[in-house]
């Protein structure tokens, strides 16, 4: 274990390197470009024994990863925003073919207007693609989650691809001290890749990527759904094992000062750090407020979430994304998780920080104020509210 000062992109790249992928195919896009840059450097100077394919697009990056993983090696790619959107079609192929590819994503808004800053719309748009999704709060988490993602994805009970995300700039380009485990430690935690089914071998010919008629298609999807369900357990196991070995604790969700909280905020990614600080201040001031950080968004940890908000009166879901025409994506999932509860908290959705607008402590305070007003009123008048946005929109 060594302490290193790494930006989020570097933490992801170093994490990926420690997992010894054999094929990396990646394409530059702001703000994730440093990831392929650093990995190609590792390959160039012999630190990482891998083939780095300089593909001509993200579409080809993920396609090449599929080809390589289906041949029998561990692969890695990284992208953001438009690049992830360009991969969209092939993301479904990767998961449908049950290939445990791991990808780093720098969370960046989607055009138009073109914008290179943070929000979660890019990965939220892929929430139905059959990829597991892990959101990092800081650079340490980015590194740790990549290593754990491989273990989970490659588990025979799972065999699903996974994306590990970091927020644009607040993490991708921000330097933080990171504990970097030794290669030996990671090797002990993550054994060499052994393909379970998918391998293109002339000695043992199989067909991959079949044509599935209505007679079979639903069973394919059902088995993916089952794998997602099983992944919940595997994630817990792997998180526990990781904690034993590396001393850092992960959960699908991370409740923060939720004991006795009337209002609970739900957050993802780096804004959770700001949120926790505001919770601390408000607790000092006597407000009964807590926070839940969602680390794993797919599979969605509905059971843990239900349990964690059981005693709350208002749950304020803070989305850094918007499913235009309805609400934020996290809100829809949190609400659905609670729908059959006999006693459930009032639910409100706050849209923040799109396209890199800062999510400031005062925004959290405003959200908490509004949540307590909802608590007093006993009803939610405006289920989806935008924070720090000009009302005068043309």
């Amino acid at each position: 274990m060594a302490k290193m000062i790494l930006e989020g992109n570097q933490a992801l790249a170093v994490g990926a390197k420690l997992c010894r992928p054999k094929v990396i195919a990646s394409y530059p896009i702001t703000p994730s470009t440093h990831i392929p840059e650093m990995l190609s450097e590792f390959v160039a100077n012999g630190e990482l024994d891998a083939d780095f394919i300089n593909v001509e697009s993200e579409h080809s990056a993920i396609s090449a990863c599929i080809g390589a993983q289906a041949t029998g090696v561990r692969t890695f790619t990284a992208t953001a925003s438009q690049g992830l959107a360009l991969m969209h079609e092939i993301l479904y192929v990767a998961s449908g073919m049950r290939l445990p590819i791991v990808m780093g994503v720098a969370n960046r808004s989607l055009s138009a207007p073109i914008n290179i800053w943070c929000d979660h719309s890019d990965t939220m748009a892929e929430r139905d693609s059959g990829w597991m999704q892990f959101y990092s709060e800081n650079n340490q988490e980015a590194l740790d989650l990549v290593i754990q993602a491989y273990r989970i994805a490659e588990d025979e009970r799972v065999l699903l691809p996974a994306m590990v995300t970091i927020d644009a700039y607040t993490l991708t380009h921000t330097f933080e001290p990171v504990d970097v485990p030794s290669q030996k430690e990671v090797d002990e935690f993550l054994p060499p890749y052994k393909p379970v089914y998918a391998i293109l071998d002339p000695e043992r010919p199989i067909t991959q990527g079949s044509f599935g008629t209505p007679e079979y298609f639903m069973e394919f999807k059902y088995s993916q759904q089952k794998a997602m369900e099983r992944a919940k357990e595997v994630i817990d196991e792997v998180f526990r094992e990781f904690e034993e070995k590396f001393g850092r604790k992960y959960g699908k969700i991370e409740p923060y000062r939720t004991e006795g909280a009337d209002v609970i905020l739900v957050t993802l990614g780096s804004m959770s750090g700001t949120g926790k600080e505001v919770v601390d201040q408000l607790r000092e001031e006597g407000a009964k407020v807590g926070l839940i950080k969602v680390t794993v968004f797919r599979p969605f940890p509905a059971e843990e979430l239900r349990e964690a908000v059981r005693r709350a009166k208002v749950v304020a879901v803070i989305d850094r994304d918007i499913s235009l025409g309805f609400s934020g994506a996290v809100f829809a999932n949190v609400s659905a998780s609670l729908i059959n509860e006999e006693k459930r908290p009032l639910l409100a959705n706050f849209i923040v920080g799109l396209g890199g607008r800062d999510v400031r402590p005062e925004d959290f305070r405003e959200i908490v104020d509004k949540s307590f007003r909802i608590l007093e009123a006993g009803r939610v008048e405006k289920p989806v509210e935008w924070i720090n946005v000009s009302g005068e929109v043309p």
Partner: protein, 296 residues
């Protein structure tokens, strides 16, 4: 071909007289069983890999429509890293749509990066899997469902994209054209392509009875006519050296293109209700100009 030797097993769902099926069989026979096949979406893929069956006796992968070359690049990289690259062929087989059009970017990337993949384009001159829509491989004046002849249309109004030249312009070790009627020439080219130290491209004309509108027992004949009329010259080029393009099959005497056009329903509007001699002449002139350059 002996039954148990066929690496693309009979019993697939391709149409009777399908040129692509013949091409795939000839190609695999030349390549042998140590071959990994990568196929994009299209007629061949949907007719040979229907779960839970498969017609492939070699490892086969389909990913999507526009990315066979990228997926094949990944296979190449993985085999290299596994120390299993030697003695294994990688053959991608795409349709004209998956190659000339939507897959061109991935193909160019694969060429430029130098992956040791033989890419065979089975060109039936339209999107057949979706029901005969034009592609940039559809020849001048041909009927398709999206290039219908009419009062203001002669059918397809552009000339076929010179995909072989585009491939050769990448400077890759080997580029050739082939067709199923000249199977010895085709199979020789497959072997040359596979022994190349880098990417190779073979553009194979594969007549489609359904889309070109001719009886299914005339596929080989139509394929032969394409060469004998000079519509589809058979050549090869090494290292992008187009100046030294070599004609591998020289028709003894070029037949008039009209013979080729007349056997295909997709050109019937050039003959009925009235014969459009000017259009036929124009096509003849295009072919003459091309053949003069090749000295055939």
């Amino acid at each position: 071909m002996k039954e148990e030797k066929q690496l693309l097993a009979p019993g697939h769902r391709m149409c009777a007289g399908c040129g692509v099926a013949l091409s795939a069989r000839l190609c695999l026979e030349a390549a042998g069983e140590k071959t990994i096949v990568v196929v994009p979406t299209g007629c061949m893929e949907v007719t040979t890999s229907q779960y839970p069956e498969t017609a492939w006796r070699v490892p086969f992968i389909h990913v999507a429509f526009e990315n066979a070359a990228a997926a094949a690049s990944g296979v190449d990289a993985a085999l290299k890293m596994m120390g299993k690259r030697e003695g294994v062929n990688i053959v991608a087989m795409g349709g004209d749509g998956g190659t000339f059009d939507i897959g061109l970017q991935a193909l160019s990337g694969m060429f430029e990066r130098g992956h040791r993949v033989t890419y065979v384009c089975n060109d039936n001159e339209a999107y057949m899997n979706t029901g005969i829509q034009r592609s940039s491989a559809t020849p001048y004046a041909a009927w398709t469902t999206t290039s219908p002849p009419g009062k203001k249309s002669i059918g397809e109004f552009r000339e076929k994209k010179p995909i072989g030249y585009i491939a050769a312009a990448h400077g890759i070790p080997y580029v050739a054209t082939a067709t199923i009627a000249y199977f010895a020439d085709y199979q020789k080219k497959v072997k040359k392509a596979l022994s190349a130290d880098g990417p190779a491209f073979i553009h194979v004309l594969t007549p489609c009875p359904v889309g070109w509108r001719f009886p299914p027992d005339r596929t080989v004949e139509v394929s032969r006519l394409a060469v004998q009329t000079g519509v589809f010259p058979l050549w090869e080029v090494r290292d992008g050296d187009i100046e030294n393009l070599r004609i591998t099959v020289k028709p003894p005497e070029r037949k008039p293109v009209e013979e080729y056009l007349a056997v295909q329903g997709r050109f019937s509007h050039l003959f009925k209700p009235e014969k459009q001699q000017d259009v036929i002449d124009r096509i003849q002139k295009m072919v003459d100009e091309k053949c003069e350059r090749y000295g055939i």
